[in-house]
C-alpha cells in the first residue's frame, strides 16, 4: 500500500552503508564522503522516525516538553483492526531494515577500531547511535502497544464495574439507614 515509503525506508540506510563501503571509488576526499554519509544517516533517521514508521506499521514516538519544562517520551501505536497480506509484508520489511542496519554499523565499528582507521570512528559512532535510537524507539512503541491493550481492557472492566458497585453501595446505605432509623 505504501511502496514509496518502503523504498525510502530502505533507500537512505542502504545508501549510507554502500557509500561507507565504497567511498574510495566515489571520491578521493574524506570530507565529501563524511558529509554525504552523515547527511544520508540524518535523512534516514528523520524519515524512519517521522514517516515510514507511521505509514508502514502505525507506530510513532517523540519527545514532548510540557509547561513545567519536564520532558516526556511519548510512544504511540495505532490500533490495527485488520492485518492484510500487503501490510504484513511491509511490516516485515520495516522491521528487517530496522534491525539489520544497526548490526551492520556495529560490525563497521569493530572493523574500524581494529584496523585503526580512526578518522572514520566518529561517523560510525554517529551511525550506530542514530539507527539504534530508532530501533529502541520502535521496539518501545511495539511493546508498549501490546502492554496497553491489556491495560485498556482491564480499565474497561473496572469502569464497567464501578457504577454497579456504586449503585449497590447506595442501595445498601439506604437499607442501612432505614435499618438505623427503624431501630431508632
Amino acid at each position: 500500500r505504501h511502496p514509496l515509503a518502503t523504498f525510502f525506508h530502505l533507500f537512505f540506510r542502504v545508501s549510507a552503508i554502500i557509500t561507507y563501503l565504497f567511498c574510495d571509488w566515489f571520491s578521493n576526499s574524506f570530507v565529501a564522503c563524511f558529509v554525504t554519509i552523515l547527511l544520508l544517516l540524518s535523512f534516514d533517521f528523520w524519515s524512519v522516525k517521522n514517516v515510514t514508521g507511521r505509514l508502514l506499521v502505525g507506530l510513532h514516538w517523540w519527545n514532548q516538553i510540557d509547561e513545567d519544562g519536564k520532558s516526556h517520551w511519548v510512544f504511540e501505536a495505532k490500533r490495527v483492526s485488520t492485518i492484510a497480506a500487503s501490510t504484513e509484508a511491509e511490516a516485515r520489511i520495516f522491521w528487517l531494515g530496522l534491525i539489520i542496519c544497526p548490526v551492520i554499523w556495529t560490525v563497521f565499528f569493530f572493523s574500524t577500531l581494529f584496523s585503526l582507521k580512526l578518522k572514520w570512528l566518529a561517523l560510525v559512532i554517529a551511525g550506530i547511535s542514530l539507527q539504534t535510537a530508532n530501533l529502541y524507539g520502535y521496539i518501545h512503541c511495539k511493546l508498549g502497544g501490546q502492554k496497553s491493550i491489556g491495560r485498556v481492557t482491564s480499565r474497561f472492566f473496572v469502569t464497567a464495574d464501578v457504577p454497579r458497585r456504586q449503585t449497590r453501595r447506595i442501595s445498601e446505605d439506604r437499607t442501612e439507614e432505614h435499618g438505623k432509623t427503624g431501630t431508632r
Partner: protein
C-alpha cells in the same frame, strides 16, 4: 460505611511519568494529527520550526520556542558548515584536512555533551536534548564570524585583516555566549549560575580560537 472503601478504582492510572503510553487515551482526532498527517506537512512543520529557532538565536529574547520544540537539525547544519569552512584549502588530496574536519565535529558535539552533563549534575531542570539544541543553535553567530573571516582573508592577511577578524570574532563570541546563557541559565538554581556559564564560555572560546587562528594554505 466501611463498605465504601472499595468503591474507588484499585488500579493505578499511569498517565504521568517519564514514559507515557497513551493508547486508548487518545481520541480519534488526536490519532489523525500525529499518525496520519501527510508527509509534506511533516516536512514543512519541521523546516519552519528550524527557521524559527535560527531567528530566535539572532534576537535572543526570553522565549520558550527554542526550549520547548527542540531539534538537532540546526546544530547539525551549523556544525557541518563550520567544519567545512575550517578546512585548510587542500580538501582533495588523500592527506587532506580530514583530521581537522573530524576534530571540529568531535569538539563541538563532545563539548556540548559535556556541558549538558555538567549542568544536569549541578541540578539543572533542562533536559539533555534541549540543552544540546540551545548550545548547537547558538553556534550560529560564530559560523557567521567564520564566513566573515574567510572573506576578509581573501582580501589579504596582514595586520589590518587580523584586527578586523579579531573584532568580529570577539563580538560574535560574546553574542553566542550571551544568547546561550539567556536560555540556559534560567534553568539553574541562582547560586549555581556562574558554575554553568563558565563551561559555556570555555566552549565558545575554544571555537572562537579555532576560527581566529585559521589560516588558509
Amino acid at each position: 460505611f466501611a463498605g465504601l472503601a472499595d468503591v474507588s478504582i484499585s488500579e493505578d492510572v499511569p498517565v504521568e511519568g517519564e514514559i507515557t503510553v497513551p493508547v486508548g487515551s487518545h481520541s480519534p482526532d488526536e490519532d489523525y494529527s500525529t499518525l496520519d498527517e501527510p508527509v509534506r506537512d511533516t516536512i514543512m512543520r519541521d523546516l519552519k520550526a528550524v527557521g524559527k529557532k535560527f531567528v530566535h538565536v539572532m534576537y535572543p529574547k526570553k522565549s520558550s520556542a527554542l526550549l520547548r520544540d527542540w531539534d538537532l537539525w540546526g546544530p547539525l547544519v551549523l556544525c557541518v558548515s563550520l567544519a567545512l569552512m575550517l578546512q585548510g584549502g587542500s580538501a582533495d588530496s588523500k592527506d587532506d584536512g580530514g583530521p581537522q574536519f573530524a576534530e571540529v565535529f568531535v569538539i563541538i558535539w563532545f563539548g556540548a555533551v559535556v556541558i549538558t552533563l555538567n549542568s544536569k549534575l549541578l541540578g539543572g531542570t533542562i533536559s539533555f536534548f534541549q540543552s544540546l539544541c540551545v548550545l548547537g543553535y547558538c553556534v550560529l553567530p560564530l559560523t557567521v564570524a567564520m564566513l566573515v573571516c574567510r572573506l576578509v582573508l581573501l582580501a589579504g592577511s596582514g595586520t589590518v585583516s587580523f584586527i578586523i577578524r579579531l573584532i568580529v570574532v570577539v563580538a560574535m563570541f560574546g553574542w553566542s555566549t550571551l544568547a546561550s546563557t539567556a536560555f540556559l541559565a534560567d534553568s539553574q538554581p541562582p547560586n549555581r549560575k556562574a558554575l554553568v556559564v563558565y563551561p559555556i564560555f570555555l566552549f565558545y572560546f575554544v571555537i572562537s580560537w579555532m576560527i581566529l587562528t585559521f589560516t588558509p594554505q
